[in-house]
Amino acid sequence: MKILLVEDNERVSQFVVKGLQEAGHTTDHAANGREGMFLGASEPYDVIIMDRMLPGDIDGLAIIEVLRKAGKRTPILILSALSDVDDRIRGLRSGGDDYLTKPFAFGELLARLDALHRRSQGVNHEVPLSVGNLHMDPMTRKVTRGDRQIVLQPREFKLLEYLMRHADQVVTRTMLLENVWDYHFDPQTNVVDVHISKLRQKIDAEFDRPLLRTVRNAGYMVTAGDP
């Protein structure tokens, strides 16, 4: 992915640029709003990471509004130290696609960037999903692995669907909470892990190759690749 990072804090920028590089992404860095606006408008990026509060007269939200008015549909992730719900809403209303509060875990940022990028490629909710020999038909709500049919509860289905739509990508617990349960808070317990292990029981228990994997310090991934 080609990513633009607009962030004035040198330490955070260094950390993000380096991390993205290691994850195999090309990153341009703009340290102020003017440069960020220029790059964002002229270069084709897959995702833009935008800090909300920038030095100088242009702030992150203003840049987003300008880019959107100019017809740029590049997915934008807003990075901010403001965690109020109102700030979040304002950020999303201005044209941002996702909102991450500082301080954040790098794994969370990476997973969200992947999800944003995949979303921008377009999601077809009717096309059957497959990961290895695991198949899901969102229309008939039928799930099979190999030739065995798997019976899932509605919420388990939603959980697996989200994981399969983001196959080969890390999905964090927060992302699952938000998108599967619509929970925008931290339940402070490992309930998501329990749900995952129940789901794992159903789809992986009697097969040699596990598809639903735990990614240490980050989240989960459904993949048919080698562990």
Partner: protein, 482 residues
């Protein structure tokens, strides 16, 4: 002194009193003057008539004699009589001369007569022409002067007395008021200097100042509780942040000192990140509490189905309950539309179930019930059969950072119930804790509001203003980081 409100009020009343007095006296005075004047004119005319009769009967000399007799007998008293010939030369009477300025045309006149001790200011005279004589009949006002004087003296005295009394009352009221206001001022300035224990003096009476003093005392009570709470919270924050920070510090210091092999360095770094995450979690919880307390989240109120919200929460925790072999049950009579903040209500409910899971024993039972009460309020009850909370602790468990004896050794920082309480308060209700012997039942009541009573109109009214982000598809994301 002029700016004293008691005094200006008293002076205002004095002015009002004086105005009333004058308004009362003026018409009286006028009526009196008119009546007397009319009466006297009639008397004078009657006198003149009688003298004219004498003139007609006895002729000019007869009249002259009659007047002489009257003047000599001094019957006239305050009366003035004068008979002159056509050249105004006096013939008889007690006036030495025809007054200057007085015409000889018959009629009533008001003149100043000061001749020979008779007459005075404002003397009323009647002039008549009898044949070749001019007759002047008058009566001076001396008789009424003392009465008039008394009237004026009385009025002035009344005004003076009123003014003095008003001033005195004003001064006394001001003094009394100043004493009490001063004591309030002293107390308040003592409080401003940091001593929150002071209270305003109150009396048994229900006068305005006392009512005010009692209200202010109530406010001081509340402020003291709040300040005390803030102080406690700051202490608790300091303490609760100190623990993970101390761990983090020693972890890093040890790394710097020992320089262990790479493998264990990474493990230590993971631990350090976990320590920092703990600190961030505490901050996030506090920020959210502050946000709720500030009432900012009321903008996020939308119509929602409480039963569905509770069912999702129960279903969310079901696998965790299963793992502990706790029976988690859910009861609802069907959809229960209310107006509220979906994110906060979900979080509050999640905290309640999470708590119940923490404290319910193995093979225990937790029940979540959602129902509409008789008074139209909506109610969520979360009941467990754990150790419960003693009466002494009930008030404390909702305090920030309070952790009961039963929670020793369980994860958490003691903000869970504080948040539920804050959410309840935001929705206009309080948290009710009751015993189930064994176990605890926590009830969150959402009072019936206009919105709750008529969910249809709500859907039209606030649906579009739905400020809380509620992604419908799995794609959208608005994230609180953990």
């Amino acid at each position: 002194m002029i700016r004293s409100s008691a005094l200006s009020l008293a002076l205002g009343y004095v002015a009002l009193g004086i105005t009333a007095l004058v308004l009362f006296a003026a018409p009286l005075w006028y009526a009196w003057q008119v009546t007397i004047q009319d009466g006297r004119s009639e008397i004078l005319q009657a006198d003149a008539q009688r003298l004219a009769d004498i003139y007609r009967r006895d002729g000019g000399d007869g009249l002259k004699n009659f007047i002489d007799t009257r003047v000599n007998m001094q019957i006239a008293g305050d009366r003035i009589l004068l008979l002159t010939d056509t050249s105004r030369k006096p013939l008889a009477g007690n006036l030495p001369d025809w007054p200057r300025n007085l015409p000889t045309t018959p009629g009533n006149y008001r003149i100043n007569v000061d001749m020979g001790g008779h007459g005075g200011e404002e003397t009323l005279v009647h002039v008549a022409l009898l044949g070749n004589y001019y007759l002047l009949v008058g009566r001076d006002n001396k008789l009424f002067a003392p009465l008039e004087r008394r009237f004026w003296y009385g009025l002035t005295a009344a005004i003076a007395a009123l003014s003095i009394a008003g001033l005195l009352v004003g001064l006394i009221t001001r003094r009394a008021l100043m004493t009490r206001v001063d004591s309030i001022r002293r107390t308040v300035s003592a409080i401003m200097h940091g001593d929150l224990k002071h209270r305003l003096p109150t009396h048994l009476s229900d006068d305005e100042l006392n009512t005010l003093a009692r209200t202010i005392n109530g406010m001081l009570e509340q402020i003291e509780v709040l300040v005390h709470g803030v102080r406690n919270v700051s202490n608790s924050i300091a303490h609760d942040l100190r623990t993970p920070l101390a761990e983090l510090r020693s972890r890093l210091e040890e790394l710097a000192l020992m320089r262990p092999p790479a493998e264990s360095v990474f493990a230590e770094i993971d631990g350090a990140v976990a320590d920092v995450d703990r600190v961030i979690r505490i901050f996030d919880a506090l920020l959210r509490l502050a946000e709720i307390d500030a009432g900012l989240r009321r903008s996020g109120f939308v119509p929602l189905d409480l039963a569905e919200l509770a069912e999702t929460a129960v279903e969310f925790y079901a696998p965790a309950a299963e793992l502990k072999e706790i029976e988690l049950t859910f009861h609802a009579d069907g959809p229960l539309p209310v107006a509220g903040d979906p994110i906060l209500l979900a979080q509050a409910l999640s905290n309640l179930i999470d708590n119940a899971l923490k404290f319910a024993p193995e093979h225990g039972a937790i029940d979540v019930t959602v129902r509409r009460r008789a008074d139209a309020a909506a109610e969520i009850a979360v009941a467990d059969n754990g150790p419960g909370i003693g009466d002494a602790e009930k008030a404390k468990v909702v305090e920030r950072f309070y952790r009961g004896d039963a929670s020793r050794g369980t994860p958490g920082v003691g903000l869970g119930l504080s948040l539920v309480q804050a959410v309840a308060k935001l929705h206009g209700s309080a948290l009710e804790l009751s015993d189930r012997h064994p176990g605890l039942c926590v009830v969150l009541v959402l009072p019936a509001s206009d919105m709750n009573a008529a969910p249809d109109s709500v859907a039209a009214g606030t649906g579009s203003a739905s400020a809380a982000p509620r992604p419908a598809a799995p794609a959208a994301a608005t994230a609180p980081t953990s």
